[in-house]
């Protein structure tokens, strides 16, 4: 179902709209959340809870949703990732507080200049990733965004594990070479 149709359904009849939204994107949202909460102490229950939270948050933010700033799929991915990361942070935020005097100083790398360079690096990497073959882009997305192991990627994409690993290795090599090339140029 296209975004416009989904949005119309969500606004006209939230119950059926939400059902359609979940049917279409529950698999992907689950994958994003699972990527962050895959290992103990998180359980399947935590993952399901987080996935539900993602859809509810999307619904709550619907009045502010702007399709020009990203598709429903992309927004769900970002919300899912953020909610999962929040859970990880909450889980590992211990009661131990570091006294201010002992806290490490902020790294020098956080200056505005560094930020600009970092953003430029990001833009370049994004461009180079876009230039990769579709299959390679999907492998890298699954590997680094969804944190799926090679075996799971191979099942999802219908390729052998060896093929997945080889393609990922070559794609990263290609990226590295291109980025180094633009650095020199």
């Amino acid at each position: 179902m296209e975004d416009t149709v989904l949005l119309k359904a969500l606004r006209r009849n939230p119950d059926t709209g939400m059902e359609a939204l979940m049917e279409q994107y529950a698999g992907l949202v689950d994958s994003v959340v699972r990527g962050k909460l895959r290992t103990p102490p998180f359980s399947g229950e935590d993952i399901e809870d987080c996935v539900a939270e993602v859809f509810l948050e999307f619904y709550d933010g619907l009045p502010r949703f702007d399709p020009a700033r990203g598709s429903i799929r992309a927004w769900l991915c970002v919300i899912a990732r953020n909610r999962a990361v929040d859970r990880v942070r909450r889980q590992y935020a211990g009661p131990d507080l570091v006294p201010l005097d002992d806290a490490p100083l902020p790294a020098e790398g956080n200056s505005p200049e560094r930020e600009i360079i970092r953003q430029e690096d990001r833009d370049r990497l994004l461009r180079e990733l876009q230039g990769l073959e579709r299959v390679d882009r999907e492998i890298l997305f699954r590997k680094y965004y969804l944190a799926q192991p090679s075996r799971e990627i191979s099942e999802r994409m219908g390729l052998t594990v060896t093929n997945i690993d080889t393609r990922a290795h070559r794609a990263i090599g290609k990226l590295r070479k291109r980025l180094e090339g633009t650095d020199r140029g």
Partner: protein
């Protein structure tokens, strides 16, 4: 590179994600049992919204419709949809919208069933006079709830929402109303049901200051 890529992917905005994965078919089929549980979970978490939706979808329009019917029935105004429109808005659905080249506008067999009938709506750039002459005026039965009312018909000229002039209508007797500039409405009000026909003649610049 692995760490760099993981960090990069983590910080992608929705728009960046779209450029990167927009053409990929990543919508993996969900586990059906998990999907069922998810739907139940979302439904449970949103009872307030569901109630609000039901209220908005059914109860409020229903209550509004009932109130409208009760109000109209009490006012003796519930006859036809056209009359409803007239009574609520005080406007007839299709008033004369303008004049012919000779400055006249004819109206034939206009029924004044309820309260008022808008004969003419026009935007005037200058001060104007309207001469309203009835060729036919026939009074019918009294309006409901007004059994003892003597039959009379009046015409009102509203300019920009204010009454500029008015007078009683008699068949064969021309009546001159002065108004404008502004949005002019000629509204006929009859004490009983009536049918009118006639001509409106528009003259520019004849309004006494």
């Amino acid at each position: 590179m692995d760490e760099h890529l993981a960090e990069f992917f983590d910080e992608l905005s929705p728009a960046e994600l779209d450029t990167l994965i927009g053409d990929l078919s990543l919508d993996d089929a969900p586990d059906q049992k998990a999907l069922k549980r998810l739907k139940a979970r979302v439904r449970r978490a949103h009872p307030r919204k569901r109630r609000k939706t039901a209220l908005r979808r059914w109860l409020l329009p229903f209550a509004a419709a009932v109130l409208a019917v009760v109000f109209l029935a009490n006012a003796g105004l519930l006859t036809t949809a056209a009359q409803w429109t007239q009574s609520v808005l005080g406007l007839e659905a299709s008033p004369i919208q303008g004049f012919q080249a000779d400055g006249t506008a004819d109206f034939q067999g206009r029924h004044i069933d309820i309260l008022s009938h808008t004969l003419l709506v026009c935007e005037e750039a200058e001060a104007v006079s309207y001469q309203v002459e009835l060729s036919d005026l026939s009074f019918g039965e009294p309006r409901r709830g007004h059994q003892q009312t003597a039959p009379h018909a009046y015409i009102y000229l509203y300019v920009d929402g204010q009454t500029a002039d008015s007078g009683e209508l008699h068949e064969g007797e021309p009546l001159v109303l002065d108004g404008g500039p502004g949005t002019c409405l000629l509204v006929v009000v009859s004490t009983v049901k009536a049918t009118i026909s006639g001509t409106i003649t528009r003259s520019v610049g004849e309004v006494a200051s």
